[in-house]
Each structure stands twice: as C-alpha cells, then as structure tokens.
Amino acid sequence: MSQPSQQDEIVAEQASLKQQAAAGIEPVIEAKGLSQGQIVRKRFLGHSGAIVGLIVFAIIFIMAFTAVGYAGIPGWWRYGHEDVSPLVNDGAPTASLWPLAWGEHPFGQDRIGRDLFAMTMRGAQQSITIMLVIGLIAGLIGVVVGALSGYFRGWMEAILMRLTDVIIIVPALLLAAVMAQFAGRRDEGSWFATFASSNGVLALGIFLGLISWVGLARLMRGEFLSLREREFVDAARISGASNARIIFKHILPNAVGVLIVNVTLTMSAAILTETALSYLGVGVKSPDTSLGLLISQNQEAFATRPWLFWFPGLFIVLICLSINFIGDGLRDAFDPRQKKFNAKKARAAGGSPAAEKTPVTAIDGGTVGGNAAGEHRGA
C-alpha cells in the first residue's frame, strides 16, 4: 500500500485521458469542474445494470411496505399475512399475464387458505428491514473500529483487531441460535427478552449487524492505514486540526467509496444469511414470516403446490440480484480507474481490437487494488 505519489498518478491519468479520447473510451470530463459527487452520480446513472437493479429494488420495496401495511398502518391489499380465507381454485395462483389479470389470490394460497401474496410481501418486508438494519449497524461499527485502529495504530489497533479476529471465527449460526433462544423466553421479563419477543425481526437484524461488521472494519483499517500517510493529512495536522476533524473531515470522505460499496455487498450477503437462518429454524419464527421461513415451511409441498415455493424464492433472488447490481454500479462509479467503455464506439472509431486492452492509467491505484483484494477476504 505504498504508492509513492498518487498525485502524479492523477495528473498522468488526466493527461492520458486527453490523448486517448478516441477508441471508445469516453473521458469523464473532469475539466468541467464537476464535484466528486457529481462525477460519481453521473457514472452511476450511466450504468444500465445498476439502474435496472435500482428500479427493481424500488418496486419491490414499495410493494412490500405498502401492500400489507407496516407498523400498524394498513396496506392496500385486501388480505393480511395471517388471514385465512376459503380456497379459490384449490389455492392455485390466479394471476395471469394474458389477459393481464391480478385475480383474487395472485400468488395462490397455502393449504389452510392464507394468501401467499400477503405472506410473500410480509416476508420481503422483514427481509428488507433486516438487510437495512444490518447494513446500518455493520457500517457504523465497521467504520468506527476500522478508523480508530487504522488511524491511531499502537495498542488500540492491537486490541481492536484481535477482537475482530475473535468475532470473525465465532460462527454466526451459533450466535443466531442463542439470540433465538433469548427471544423465545417471554416469561423471564428482562428488558432484552421483552424487546426481542415483541420485535423479533428487528432484534435479529441488530444481532446479525453486531457480528457482520468485522470484514468492513478490516477494509476500513486498510484504507485508513494508507490514507493517513498522505500529504493532505500532514497538511491538516500542521494547520492544527484535531484527530477527530482529520478522521471525519479529511480521511473518511476519501474512503467513502470503499465503504458504500462494501456496505451494499454486506447487505446482499445479509439477506441470504437471514433467509438461511430462518430456513434452519433459528431466524424469524412463526407466526411471523420471512422469505426463508416460507420456503422452509413449504418445501415438502413442492409436488402438490409448487407456487408456495416459487414465489418466495423468486423474491429472494430478485432482491439479492438487484442489490448486487447496485453494488456493482457503485463500485464502477467510485473506481477512479474505471472509464466508461463503449464497444460500439470503439468499433466505429476504427480502433484495433487492441484498443480495449490499452491501459487507461499509467499505474494502478494502490487503494483500489487493495479494495478488490480485501473485499474478497471480507466476503
């Protein structure tokens, strides 16, 4: 992580951009005076996969939170996830593409007549809630631990990193089982048990968040280790900035790209963790529902009622896939090496096939290379 002069690198990069404007590599016009945020936003909006992912996720999010209602607010769908109604057409899905119709029970019903659309929406709601809670908590703790150990080094780093090492090898499954056990003890009356039994999903999210910050903390530490040696940090220190100011105003904004990308990826992994734990019986418990629990409850019925199995699985895949695409788009947007490449323009410009292999920057950025390697370790 000792890139000697990243300033030179950026100068070199901008110079090479002007030369290589041809051959399909669209230069991001940084001379126009766009701010960092504007550049990132522009790149992100140009990433079609990420935009599709964002739209799909937004649709699922709105549907999940408005259909069956949230936190006491009633939703627009006529059934709740616990309501039992008489079986229509033996519970088969009534939705059809041609003619486009919604029907009485678009996703079908289970054996006792609960509406699968309502249950799936409720499950998606729970999964998204858990995902957001995990992202928030893991992000916060990860940043604080990573920043403190990377910036102050010394005994602080030693203690925090050994703590990270311990937590990283304790299996999540065990922690979730302990958590589920506490949530089950309604009668004991401790404040934690009361909270957990009334907000099972939130408690699960908080608990998983408390253990999934470790990968992020390691990454942030790496970022801080390399950024604290840079000239602008020295400049800030000489002009009398306090440690807190250097951390939050000078270093953190430079590490925010790595942070956002990896929080996104942590969240997409979290949704799979939650569904897997619910599937194993230590996550969300009945009578509440989650996507993993729905699959677990209905896997024996695959031969007779396959729709009970298809729709929750489809939603898990859709949510996770859209988050992954958003993360990919963010990574491209924050990666300074990444130049938007348009294959058609390269061909139109008469560029040789070698054009796409032309390196855009002279040297690869140390921080970004470290990010790619470290990220896999985190995963």
């Binding site: 311990v166 090898i169 304790v170 302990v178 993993g292 677990s296 699985g313 292999k357 896999h376």
Partner: protein, 513 residues
C-alpha cells in the same frame, strides 16, 4: 520469517482460546438441555433428568465446565498418545469418533465440489477477461450475479425435484421426443455461437455444426436406448482422444510444435491399445489399483514425450502426459458406464438411481464400480448445488485479476517483442493472474472443513455442519466445540499458508518479520 510464523501461531493460539471460551458459554446459554424431559409425562422423568445432568455435568457452572473441557482437549496436543478427550455428546458417543465420521462425510461431499468449482471458475474467469465486453462476458457476468444471489436451500430443493425425481422418471423410459432433441440442439448451438470467437460467419458455422451434432447424438441416444446401457466404446474414445490431443497441444505447446503434437497423438494410440489390454484387469479393480494405473499413465505419457523429444523435450512430455491422463479418465468413465446396468437393476436401487438424501444406499453390495456409481449418484446433486453457488466468486475474482494483469507493462513488452498470443496468455498473464487467486483458494480450502451446514441439512449428509447444527439444537456443547476447534484451527493455518504462499509466489510482497 521464522519469527513471523511463530508470532502468527502464538496470536492464533490466544485468539483460539478466547473464541472457544466464548463459543462454549454461548452454546451453554443457548437453551435448556433438559427441556425435552420437562415437558414429558414419563414416570421416570426425574431419573432421566438426573442422568442427563450427570452426563453433561450441569451442576458445574458453564465457565468452570469450559476449563474441564479444556483440560481434556489439551491432551490432544500430545502427539501419538491417543489420550485425546473432547468429551462425549448427548448420546454418550465420544466426540473424537463422531468427528472422524463427520469429517469423512464432509470431505467426500465438498472436495469434488470445490475442485470443480475452482477449475471451472478460473477457466470462465480467464476466458471472460480475454473477451472483455463480448456477449460471452456479459452472459457469464449475469450468470455469476444470479448464482451469487441464489439461496442454496432453494437451489437444492429444485435440484431434488428436477434432477432426481424428474431424471429418474425419464430413465424409466429414456425416449427423447424429436422437438425436445431439436430444442436442446438449438440451445447448445446458441451457446457455441456465443463462445466461439471471430466473425459472424465463423460463429454461425460453429453454432450450426454444434446444433447438428448435438441433435443427431440425442436422436441416436433415444433410438438405441443409450441411457439404459450407456458406454463410450473404443471408437468414441479414439475420436475424443485425438480431439483432446490437439486441444492439449494447443494450450501447452502450440500446434506449431509438431513434436509435441506427435507425442500427444502417440499417447492417444497407446491409450486405445491399452483400453483393450486392461479391460480384464479393470474387472477386479480396487481403489489402490486405479491410483497405481493413474501413476503409470502419467509415467507412460512422460516417457512418450521424452522419446519423441524435439527441441523442447519438456513441452512434448507435458503434452503427452496431460493427454494420457485425460484419455485414462475417458477409459475409466467408460468402465463406470459399463457397470451402469448392474447398478441400475440392483435390488437396492430398483431403477431410481439418482438419490435425494444420504451419502450412499444402505446395505448395497457390489464390486468397486457399482459402489463407485453409488457414491456418484448420491454426490451429484449436493455437488451441483455447491458448485453453482461457489462458482460465481472464483469467476469474478479471476476475471478481475486477469484484466489487471493484461494491462501490465510486461504484457505489452511481451507482445512488442513478438511473442505469440498463446504464449502471452499462458506464460506471462495466466501464471501471474493465478497468484491472487491462489490465496483465495487457500482461504476457501481452509473453510471447506466446516462443511456446508445448509447443503448437509437439505441432503441429509451427516457431516461436520450437521454435527454442529445438531449440537446447537440439543444444547450440547461438546460436539459444537469439537467442530468449532477443527474448523478454527484449519482456517487459521490456511490463512497463514495463504499469506506465506503469496509472499513466496510474488517476490514483491514480503512478510513483516
């Protein structure tokens, strides 16, 4: 270097102590081991509760029990003493025995999946990096994201439904209707069109040929009921062998090296002759014999390469040896296929070969080949599920690594001095791109031993993950601790190996002494 390793090991031991204490307390706190008796109405309820309390030593507080356990576990550090004591599980079985069984089950399950996922993932990653921004690249990237987002329990249930039940139904009457055969042919043709590089004419031609061949083969299979009595036969082995010889030579030495091509082709001839010679021998096969034959195959291949020679003996030897191994694999495959009818009609299998649960048919009897097929039919579904979800990571990582290497200055230098594209890719780029991949592989191998909890649960394989989950559900700390210790130690050792391997492979990276 030694200081570094010693320091890492000491830190690891301390972390292990802390984490194992935590895990023990958490397991002990995760529930009430007597819960099943409290709710029961048996007359000897109190007696049962007492005996379990005595077995689990529940009168001692959990932190003290941890130190008792640690005392027993410390004896494992004495080598060859055989006094290893990790306690007993709730059924009274010593944990060391349970761990031994579980380890075998887990390793048979995950090894094949890991090896295949790594091979396929790296290959796909390299190809997509070389064809960046092609249809193939976009297709593989999308598949990688999709597989990355699949919950494994969902995939596993789908596989059980279509891979096992559906395929077994198909095997009862293996007829492929003509439209289906054409449909499958079209799919393969389209894939071949995307995979084949070059201009439109070449792509269409490749796609058309693949479509015709696949459709014809499927119709042939359907007419001759091939799936009831599968087999390759010497002719197919010879044709495939020649193809393999060309492919291997292309990759290892380049087709311009005629001596290498000759040695590979000679290896194919020898292999086809050997096919007839060793059939009687293979009828009494044992595992040891197969291993010895494999070694012999490699040696014969290298001997052929050595005798043919050429200006670069090493290349000829490599080409011939790799070709012989692949050919030997085909011969083995053919022999397994010959045993298929015997397995299919076995009294225990009764015509439904692909199993959905377990790691083997109970009480099955048969020779080496039938037992091998039995393991195969039990492993294929969980292995497929594991490959699907772990493929994506390797593909993406190799692709990123390869792209970075292809932009390096030394690659441009190699091209500039006129090295052929094959040598640039195979010699200069591929080897360097594998360095970061090697460390990831080391990490993952370290994690393998923990098993796949969900896959083992869905397919009822009683491996490490199953032992762990079972221990948690019964609030039984000893199996949980046993699995945890094994997993944590291997993970830490492989982490260390990964770091050391990185600095050994890439001299620019030094370990801090």
């Amino acid at each position: 270097m030694v200081t570094y390793i010693v320091r890492r090991l000491v830190t690891a031991a301390l972390i292990l102590l802390g984490a194992s204490f935590l895990v023990y307390l958490l397991t002990a706190a995760s529930g009430d081991p007597l819960a099943e008796f409290r709710a029961s109405s048996q007359p000897n309820k109190q007696q049962l509760m007492d005996s379990r309390s005595a077995l689990l030593d529940l009168d001692t507080p959990a932190p003290l029990r941890y130190f008792k356990w640690l005392g027993g576990a410390a004896k494992c550090l004495v080598p060859f003493a055989g006094s290893c004591d990790l306690g007993k599980n709730i059924a009274g079985q010593p944990i060391t025995d349970a761990l031994g069984h579980a380890l075998v089950q887990t390793l048979t399950l995950v090894t094949g999946a890991a090896v295949l996922a790594i091979l396929v993932g790296i290959t796909l990653g390299i190809i997509t990096a070389l064809r960046q921004y092609s249809t193939l690249d976009y297709g593989v990237t999308f598949m990688a994201f999709l597989f990355f987002s699949l919950p494994i329990f969902w995939v596993a249930v789908l596989l059980k439904e279509f891979g096992a039940i559906g395929f077994n139904d198909f095997l009862r009457n293996p007829q492929i209707p003509l439209p289906l055969a054409i449909g499958i042919g079209v799919v393969f043709g389209l894939v071949a069109m995307v995979v084949a590089g070059g201009d439109t004419k070449r792509r269409v031609l490749t796609g058309g040929i693949v479509f015709a061949v696949v459709t014809a083969v499927l119709i042939y299979f359907s007419v001759t009921q091939w799936f009831k009595t599968p087999g390759l036969g010497p002719v197919v082995i010879a044709i495939a062998g020649v193809g393999l010889a060309f492919a291997v030579t292309l990759l290892t030495a380049g087709l311009r090296n005629r001596k290498a091509l000759q040695s590979a082709l000679i290896a194919v001839c020898v292999g086809v002759v050997a096919y007839f010679l060793i059939q009687p021998l293979l009828n009494q096969a044992t595992f040891l014999m197969i291993v010895l034959l494999a070694v012999a195959t490699v040696l014969v291949g290298m001997a052929i390469g050595y005798l043919v020679g050429g200006y670069d003996r090493g290349q000829s030897m490599r080409a011939a040896a790799i070709t012989s191994v692949l050919l030997g694999f085909l011969v083995l495959l053919d022999r397994f296929m010959q045993a298929w009818p015997a397995y299919f009609n076995n009294g225990r299998v009764r015509g439904r070969p692909i199993a959905t649960i377990g790691a083997g048919t109970p009480n099955i009897e048969g020779d080496f080949w039938v037992l091998g097929l039995d393991s195969f039919t039990h492993l294929i579904l969980p292995t497929t599920a594991l490959i699907l979800i772990s493929l994506a990571g390797y593909t993406r990582f190799t692709r990123a690594s390869m792209l970075e290497i292809m932009n390096m200055d030394y690659i441009r230098t190699a091209r500039a001095k006129g090295v052929s594209e094959r040598t640039v890719v195979m010699r200069h780029a591929f080897r360097n791109a594998l360095i970061p991949v090697a460390t990831i592989v080391a990490f993952d191998i370290g994690g393998l031993i923990g098993g796949a909890v969900i896959t083992e649960t869905v397919f009822s394989v009683r491996g490490m993950g199953f032992l762990f989950l079972d221990g948690i559900l019964h609030v039984d700390p000893n199996p949980v601790m046993g699995v945890f210790i094994c997993v944590a130690i291997t993970a830490m050792v492989f982490n260390l190996i990964a770091d050391l391997a990185y600095s050994a492979l890439d001299p620019r990276v030094r370990v801090k002494a």
